[in-house]
Amino acid sequence: MSQIEHHPQDDTLFSYAAGSLPAALALVVGCHLQVCSTCRSQVRSGESLGGELMTALAPKTLSDRARANVLQRLDMQQSQSDCEKVSVGSEAIVSPIAPVTGAMPSLLQKILKEQDFDALPWKKTIAPGLKQIVIDCGEGQARLLRITAGQKMPVHSHRGSELTLILSGGYSDTLGQFNAGDVADLDGSIEHQPLADDDMDCICLAGMDAPLLFKGWLAKLIQPFVGM
């Protein structure tokens, strides 16, 4: 299958490890991690850093009551965890690195309660050849974008951070060719105009922590309608 060439930047991966990425961006990273061992390893490093930094904090001792409470709960949990110990005879369930197949990542399947992109209620946008599904995730905006094969998007830049994971198909812009599994990690300084590959629709998961900023009068005009 395709080789992943574009990854999230270190600041994005380490913030994910720190738990400080807004939900919409964290979701994109989470889906990328399902297929990318390189980035999993980076996130592990970020978690190691988190552990070390946590250890470096000035200790704030728990109350004596809390300590006694925990000690007491050890006894209560002893038999239960012994059972657990036995039942986990095989290694704990881990999610293996998934191959890049153009299928929907399992994190998304859970949210959308659907496994097939074609079964989703795609909504037209005012931009020609662009359909979308808005994913309500509480922090920032996440959406699935479906760009018709061969379609060119309007030139735009981004006011905040944007992460885009290609799920199926591909596109190219000034930054290069992006295929399934690749992530475009962009901030406000990048202006781009993605062109979807000819052979199939390009489906992406885009997470943003602030609304997009389209350039040009047409883009400014359509921005409120596209809502991106």
């Binding site: 390893s41 592990r44 988190g50 250890t55 657990e84 951070s161």
Partner: protein
């Protein structure tokens, strides 16, 4: 004996030994050593993330009990105890206070490593703090706000007046400095 090691001498190996004894023989003394060392730090971490004192105390207890209950899933060659505990604490904090972010993380049952990490950290907090102290102020600030306050890049930009791009590049430079340190001191 490991038991008479001073607080200063207790290394990653020492804590991994404690985990092994909990897994093998449900050793309460080992657990309480871990508890007394780590729970005040988990508590401090959670308070820094904005948890109310009572919630931080509850979650810190829960995190420590997770060590007790899941000690058999811990592999010393895959992660430091502090890393493992950080992940537990972060996930608990997200579950409790930033539920919306929960969609992006694997569940607690996947605590076990799925890949070998590049870095085996065995550094102690004090030395790491020294690295933090050598960073330029803006880099240290960005690390501090990301890890200890759970702030997003744009929140940091807003609070500090730094442009978003500078927040991100400062964090990247800090990571680079930490990597260098890990590279030299990692096992």
């Amino acid at each position: 004996m490991a038991e008479i090691a001073t607080e200063q001498e207790r290394s990653g190996e020492f804590w991994a030994d404690c985990m092994a004894r909990i897994a093998e023989s449900r050793d309460k003394d080992s657990f309480m050593l871990l508890f007394d060392h780590f729970s005040p730090r988990v508590n401090a971490y959670l308070l820094g993330q904005g948890a109310a004192a009572s919630i931080a105390e509850d979650l810190a207890q829960e995190a420590m009990l997770a060590l007790w209950n899941k000690a058999h899933l811990y592999h010393r060659d895959k992660a430091a105890v502090s890393t493992w505990l950080f992940r537990v604490a972060r996930n608990l904090w997200i579950d409790k206070l930033r539920k919306q972010r929960g969609i992006a993380y694997e569940s607690d049952d996947n605590l076990e490593e799925t890949v070998d990490a590049d870095v085996r950290l065995n550094a102690d907090g004090e030395r790491l703090k020294a690295v933090l102290d050598t960073l330029p102020v803006n880099q240290a600030q960005v690390v501090y706000k990301s890890y200890y306050e759970g702030k997003s890049h744009s929140e940091i930009a807003e609070e500090t007046g730094m442009p978003l791009g500078s927040v991100k590049s400062s964090l990247r430079l800090a990571i680079k400095a930490f990597r260098q340190y890990f590279g030299e001191n990692g096992v």
